[in-house]
């Protein structure tokens, strides 16, 4: 534990709540770290001499005569190449039994990149999953979450995306991971033989929830080190941001702040934006891409957490079980990658944008036909064809177990078009249809 001879030790707490303690102290900086009864804490409010600290691991058992030591610094992380391949907790301490890290000390939660120093993202990240590459292409420097119900295999999908993406580093920020999921990530990373390019900061369900608040900043401080200092492309995985936001609401509720929608703090948008906006493409070549998970309750995206997330991120990938084919698919309706237009038809084949749009439009026609059918109406010949098409489209392209390159995805799409529809029904620009239509 950090302790220096001249540091003043306080021994009297005047107030204790579930998440915070208050004491009289002087010369304390805002957001400074402290140790309260052996637990890490951070200054969240200063009123004259009264200092309120948020105790990350909770205040259970803390007595009024607890020892309080101020550390004179904000939360920090040591950064160096030694981070590679290692697992840490929310405070940046190793949890894999390995040695301490040597490196430069950096404050976490650092300032934002000057917008004029950014470069427009332009590098496609291929994942092999058509629901992503064909319909919602990822671009390096993007920030995008999976929206998924808790029972969907989002961590598995995210892990395979991470391993297939060609990036220099993968940084996992796990918040409220179950121990099983933590071990799952550890296993896939090890089995892929990719451990040396992976760094993990993990808070599991066994750890106190408020500790999670540090995870994104830890992961992103490490990411900035590799992206800025080493010009590397870094992929940051944040799962599950809903649990992060829950921790925010715990703290703000205990500090008696007026909650806004869904008992979330009024600052939720800014709090989440501060994290997601760390995604960036630097002119020097380094980049930070953020793929996150936001779990939904009962598919409700109007809840404050997914809603604010959607307003911040550059699209979202919606996982849904397609009962007809019995597989999880990337839902083409609610999913969106806002940066896709920077790469599709440019880094991919020219027909990509039109094929993508036409395929989804026809899929939408199928869903109208299905509604008709469910309401007991007769289907037209066109309706019937859209339904057949939708099933094949879902199976061959939308399912998350698809793993092919983009050119193949386009070719499959043209196959589906010509099998089920006429050129006019597909409605793609004549010049392109002439070139790619399959007879």
């Amino acid at each position: 534990m950090e302790r220096q001879a001249f540091q003043k030790i306080y021994t009297h707490l005047t107030n204790i709540t579930k998440a915070t303690v208050t004491l009289e102290a002087g010369d304390v900086g805002y957001e400074e770290m402290a140790i309260v009864h052996g637990r890490l804490a951070q200054v969240v409010k200063i009123m004259g001499k009264m200092i309120t600290l948020q105790v990350f691991s909770g205040t259970e058992g803390i007595p009024t005569d607890a020892e309080i030591l101020f550390l004179g610094r904000p939360p920090q992380l040591k950064v160096s190449d030694e981070l590679s391949g290692r697992f840490f907790n929310a405070y940046g301490d190793p949890i894999d039994g390995g040695p301490e890290i040597n490196g430069e000390i950096r404050d976490i939660g650092s300032p934002s990149v000057n917008p004029v120093r950014r470069k427009q993202p332009s590098q496609l990240i291929a994942t092999g999953i058509a629901g992503i590459d064909l319909n919602n292409s990822l671009v390096s420097g993007q920030k995008i979450p999976f929206f998924a119900d808790p029972d969907q295999p989002y961590n598995q999908v995210m892990a395979s995306v991470a391993l297939r993406a060609k990036t220099d580093k993968i940084i996992l920020g796990g918040m409220g991971l179950t121990n099983d999921d933590y071990l799952y990530f550890k296993n896939v990373f090890e089995n892929a033989g990719a451990l040396e390019k992976i760094i993990s900061f993990v808070n599991t369900t066994d750890n106190p929830p408020v500790e999670r608040l540090l995870i994104p900043d830890m992961a992103l401080t490490a990411a900035e080190y590799f992206a800025v200092d080493k010009n590397e492309s870094v992929l940051v995985l944040l799962t599950d941001m809903t649990l992060f936001a829950d921790a925010l609401s715990i703290v703000s509720n205990r500090m008696d702040q007026i909650p806004s929608k869904d008992s979330m703090p009024g600052s939720l948008y800014s709090d989440l934006a501060r994290i997601y906006e760390k995604a960036v493409q630097f002119p020097s070549g380094g980049s930070i891409t953020i793929i996150a998970v936001t779990t939904l309750s009962g598919g409700d995206i109007t809840h404050a957490i997914p809603d604010n997330t959607g307003y911040i991120t550059e699209g979202q990938l919606f996982l849904r079980r397609d009962t007809e084919i019995g597989k999880v698919i990337v839902d083409p309706f609610r999913s969106l990658s806002r940066l896709k237009q920077l790469v599709i038809g440019k880094q991919t084949r020219e027909d990509h944008p039109q094929v993508m749009n036409a395929a989804i439009r026809l899929y939408a026609d199928a869903s109208n036909a299905r509604t008709k059918m469910e309401n007991g109406f007769d289907l037209t010949d066109y309706d019937e064809r859209t339904l057949e098409y939708a099933k094949a489209y879902s199976e061959k392209l939308l399912a998350i177990d698809v793993n092919v390159d983009t050119e193949t995805m386009l070719s499959i799409s043209w196959d589906l078009f010509s099998t089920h529809f006429s050129k006019a029904e597909v409605g793609i620009k004549a010049a392109i249809t002439e070139k790619y239509w399959k007879n």
Binding site: E31, S110, P111, V113, G266, Y269, Q316, N357, K372
Partner: protein, 590 residues
């Protein structure tokens, strides 16, 4: 508010970016102060005063700040610096020039000069010695990019003055005295090309503000044709996330026939601003052939930048707009998103522990929004010329619910409503403006109707209303078809439905990413609407509903090709004649 001795104070409390300062002298509401944290000076604004305690919102992170830190009050409100050299700049919400900042990351306490003090400007005088002048009177002009930038009597000078001297035509720096003026008491004032103005006060150097009456072309069919906005008009674009607010605003800012476009990226994504930085220096203004960036000012206070400065950013943008409007220019101001500004107000109001209004927003939200929108408008300047600020803000309703406080307050303030619909966005019917729910109050203004009649012909308004009517009928027909089934409704229902689809696909939908379709000039819009309505007014002979769908799909397909082709090009006319053949084959012959 100028004081001989600056008031000072000491920090006594800190909660995030709300800091409480004990003062030793007079302070004013909204006065600016600096908190001296080590080498860094953190700028802040007074937002509440209780006894000797000033509550200030800091425009920076307060990390490391301690009780006892000294504070100096500046004796003025939050101000912008006005003068030539503002165009093409990238500012933050407090008008710091972002390009002048060192380093990749924003440094706390770094404030940069909004203008170039060393640049020389080619000045030519407008006023003569002996002229009577007032605040806002034009003394001379310099060419800023291609815009005649007027050098005016500072807006803060509230009296009547006489010009004592004015420099000859020549090149000068912005700080050079270009004129001296004298008030009735004989006090002489030296005027340079630079002046300052507090952002929360409207600049009112105009004679009067009539109701807007001129159409402002945006190149977006769904706006210009169906729900036009006017020069000096106000509009807002609410929509759930991802429905196309930003894409629509960017499209408008590229195409609109304005002299100057000011874009306030208020609490949104940094990458969207980078897109402008990247594209605007390349893209041409279709009217002048000059690069778009030359007529653009960007105020970037993105979501990860300090929240208090986010609130300031929209005011900074509006003040710059008012400055240029006073030069007799046509300004288009865009803010994306005004909800983030409202949220910044909410965060602060919560920290101040004020009694919250609906959804924890401050009670006066509605008034704040109305006052802001009221600063837009078309004006007659004292010298008989006109200027305008057209303002379009986006709104990001929580949960996509239009009944929330920011949307409702904005609805009261703005005259055009461009509601984006989730369903339309989901089915990629872009721009996802719900043409039935949306409105332009300007269409009801007699002066606007007269203008339309004069410029687009007597039939135009009738055509627009007919198009809206067809859309509505089509929607009703579709509902009936959904309830009763395809073959249980008369064929005419299908006919109605497909005619509305025709208008939807060809007039409403527009591909913002296609070179040609992205921008549609008014004469082309008129041509297309006339053509589409002709088809819609044609009686066809069909044997069954399936035939109707098939027929209209092929028509829509050809029309789409027309939208993608150069107007009146060979290809365009070729598609058109293909279309005519198709139509006349199916048409009922009298």
């Amino acid at each position: 508010m100028e004081r001989k001795n600056k008031t000072t104070g000491k920090v006594v409390g800190i909660v995030a970016n709300l800091v409480i300062v004990e003062t030793n002298g007079p302070v004013a509401q909204n006065e600016i102060c600096f908190i001296h944290l080590g080498q860094e000076n953190l700028m802040a604004e007074v937002i509440k005063i209780v006894g000797i305690k000033a509550y200030v919102q800091v425009f920076e992170s307060t990390r490391g700040l301690k009780v006892g830190t000294s504070v100096t009050f500046e004796g003025h409100l939050l101000e912008v610096t006005l003068g030539p050299g503002i165009l093409s700049k990238n500012y933050d919400g407090l008008q710091n020039d972002l390009d002048k900042m060192k380093g990749v990351f924003l440094t706390r306490g770094e404030y940069t000069d909004p203008l170039e003090r060393d640049s020389l400007w080619n000045f030519s005088p407008i006023a003569k010695v002996g002229d009577t002048v007032y605040a806002g009177s034009w003394l001379g002009e310099v060419m800023e990019n291609s815009i005649p930038h007027k050098i005016m009597v500072p807006f803060k000078l509230e009296k009547k003055y006489t010009v004592r001297s004015i420099v000859q035509a020549g090149t000068y720096t912005v700080d050079t005295t270009i004129a001296t003026i004298k008030d009735d008491e004989g006090n002489e004032i030296a005027i340079s090309m630079v002046q300052k103005w507090p952002v929360k006060m409207p600049i009112k150097a105009y004679d009067n503000k009539p109701r807007p009456f001129k159409l402002l072309e945006t190149g977006v069919r769904c706006i210009d044709t169906l729900n036009p906005i006017t020069e000096g008009g106000t509009g807002f674009i609410p929509g759930p996330f991802g429905t196309g607010k930003t894409v629509l605003q960017h499209a408008i800012s590229k195409q609109a026939e304005a002299d100057i476009v000011i874009i306030a990226a208020c609490g949104e994504r940094a990458n969207e601003v980078v897109e402008i930085f990247t594209e605007f220096p390349e893209l041409e203004d279709p009217r002048t052939g000059r690069k778009l960036i030359e007529r653009t000012i960007i105020i970037a206070n993105t979501s990860n930048m300090p929240v208090a400065a986010r609130e300031a950013s929209v005011y900074t943008a509006m003040t710059l707009a008012e400055y240029y409007r006073s030069m007799g220019l046509k300004i288009l101001l865009m803010a994306d998103s005004t909800s983030r500004w409202a949220q910044a107000l909410r965060e602060m109001s919560n920290r101040l522990e004020e009694l919250p209004g609906p959804d924890a927003f401050p009670m006066d939200l509605s008034a704040v929004i109305s006052n802001f929108y009221a600063r837009a408008g078309f004006v007659y300047l004292p010298n008989g010329t006109t200027g305008s600020i057209t303002f379009i803000g986006t709104v990001s309703p929580a949960g996509g619910n239009l009944k929330e406080p920011v949307t409702e307050s904005t609805r009261k303030a703005a005259r055009c409503f461009y509601g984006l619909s989730q369903a339309r966005a989901d089915s990629k019917r872009y721009p996802a403006i719900d043409a039935i729910e949306s409105y332009s109050k300007y269409l009801e203004y007699p002066e606007v109707q007269t203008y339309l009649e004069k410029n687009l012909g007597k039939e135009w308004l009738g055509q627009v209303l007919q198009a809206k009517d067809i859309l509505l009928r089509g929607k009703e027909a579709m509902e009936q078809i959904n309830i009763l089934g395809d073959d249980s409704v008369p064929l005419v229902f299908h006919d109605k439905y497909w005619k509305s689809e025709l208008i939807d696909f060809i007039i409403l939908q527009q591909d913002a990413f296609d070179k040609i379709d992205a921008s549609c000039p008014m004469n082309r819009q008129q041509y297309m609407l006339t053509s589409v309505l002709k088809v819609a007014n044609t009686e066809f002979k069909f044997d069954g509903f399936e035939e109707i769908g098939g027929f209209f799909k092929s028509i829509i397909n050809i029309y789409k090709q027309m939208n993608y082709s150069e107007f009146q090009s060979e290809k365009f006319t070729q598609y058109e004649s293909e279309l005519n053949t198709l139509v006349s084959n199916k048409q009922v012959n009298e």
